[in-house]
């Protein structure tokens, strides 16, 4: 397991890639949100990550990983606008706290940073898996990562498993009844639509999987 799976340069590549994916998928994410929410998730995430690019990534030279991740969180809580702001903001703040002062993370440290972020989302949203939220992508991703690492997979394979689990998890939100957020006001009518937050969470894990290893 030894060896570095995420360093400063790869961290920046991850965040750039995630910003790119969110910009590319802003339309589809907003359409998903139009069905069961307030039709702004894609626009909001794109706006937040544009701010991340300008205010954090463009000035990240010489900063350690934890600092950059915390700055991403601070930027998102003030720029996204919708529920994604405090939820993704908390994700990156907690991940950054877990990586505090570090410039390189090994497999275990990156796993722990992800777990801290996921726990932050769970606490902030007072949600559990199965309620049609971001957690329905993030929790399966973390479980798949843990299972793969425990089985001795290499990092690349373990993160690929995590990305697939997140994508499957986001698709599995289609038949779920929303119990959190604006979608919960729809009750039974929320069934049959994929959750936008779980969908963007799968992009987060996918983009991270692309840079680790």
């Amino acid at each position: 397991m030894g060896g570095i799976v995420l360093d400063c340069e790869r961290n920046l590549r991850w965040l750039e890639r995630l910003a790119g994916l969110l910009a590319e998928q802003a339309g589809p994410l907003t359409e998903l949100d139009a069905a069961i929410g307030d039709a702004d998730h894609g626009i909001n995430m794109e706006r937040g990550f544009n701010a991340v690019k300008e205010r954090v990534l463009a000035q990240a030279a010489g900063k350690d990983l934890g600092t950059v991740l915390k700055q991403v969180g601070t930027t998102l809580v003030s720029t996204v606008g919708g529920a994604g702001g405090p939820l993704y903001g908390t994700f990156f703040l907690r991940m950054g706290q877990s990586a505090d002062g570090k410039s390189e993370l090994d497999a275990r440290e990156l796993r722990d940073a992800l777990a801290a972020g996921v726990e932050g989302v769970r606490q902030r949203g007072r949600a559990q898996p199965g309620e049609k939220t971001m957690l329905d992508a993030l929790v399966p991703a973390l479980e798949a990562l843990d299972a793969a690492l425990a089985a001795g997979s290499d990092n690349r394979a373990a993160w690929e498993a995590a990305a697939r689990a997140a994508e499957e998890g986001s698709r599995a939100t289609v038949p779920m009844l929303a119990r959190k957020g604006r979608a919960s006001y729809l009750g039974e009518r929320s069934i049959g639509h994929q959750d936008p937050g779980a969908t963007s969470s799968a992009l987060l894990i996918r983009s991270l999987a692309e840079v680790v290893g």
Partner: protein, 133 residues
């Protein structure tokens, strides 16, 4: 000194209008700040802007924060967590209907009540019937 209020909404106009409504009731006896809308003026909430509102009315007797829907609550929680420990202890997020709760809390605060009592009155606004008992 008295307890201050911060009202948070996804809509800047809603937050501003509510602050206006409250101010009319308490006539300057209670400090009221509002935070509403995303950074670029669209609907939404911002933890940084909530922090600005908290800074505006902070005082030794504390601040009661009333919020509208989901992300307003979560953004307020983020803002609260970022406060220094001493201020966090005198800043309270309250689970209350935002309009009725804000008016009731402002009146209670104007009477010089402590933060716990002001928060309790805001919570009780939920069970106050509008169309008779």
């Amino acid at each position: 000194m008295t307890v201050s209020l911060v009202v948070v909404s996804h809509s800047r106009r809603l937050a501003e209008g509510l602050a206006e409504l409250v101010e009319q009731v308490v006539q300057g006896r209670v400090r009221v700040a509002f935070s509403g809308g995303a950074e670029d003026g669209r609907l939404g909430t911002s933890a940084a802007d909530i922090r600005r509102a908290l800074d505006e009315v902070d005082g030794p007797d504390g601040v009661l924060v009333l919020m509208d829907l989901g992300s307003a609550v979560m953004s307020a929680e983020v803002a609260l967590e970022e406060l220094p420990e001493e201020r966090r202890r005198r800043t309270r997020l309250v689970d209350a209907p935002v309009v009725e709760g804000a008016v009731a809390a402002a009146v209670e605060a104007s009477l010089g009540s402590e933060l716990d009592a002001v928060a309790r009155v805001a919570e009780q606004a939920r069970s106050q019937p509008k169309l008779g008992g």
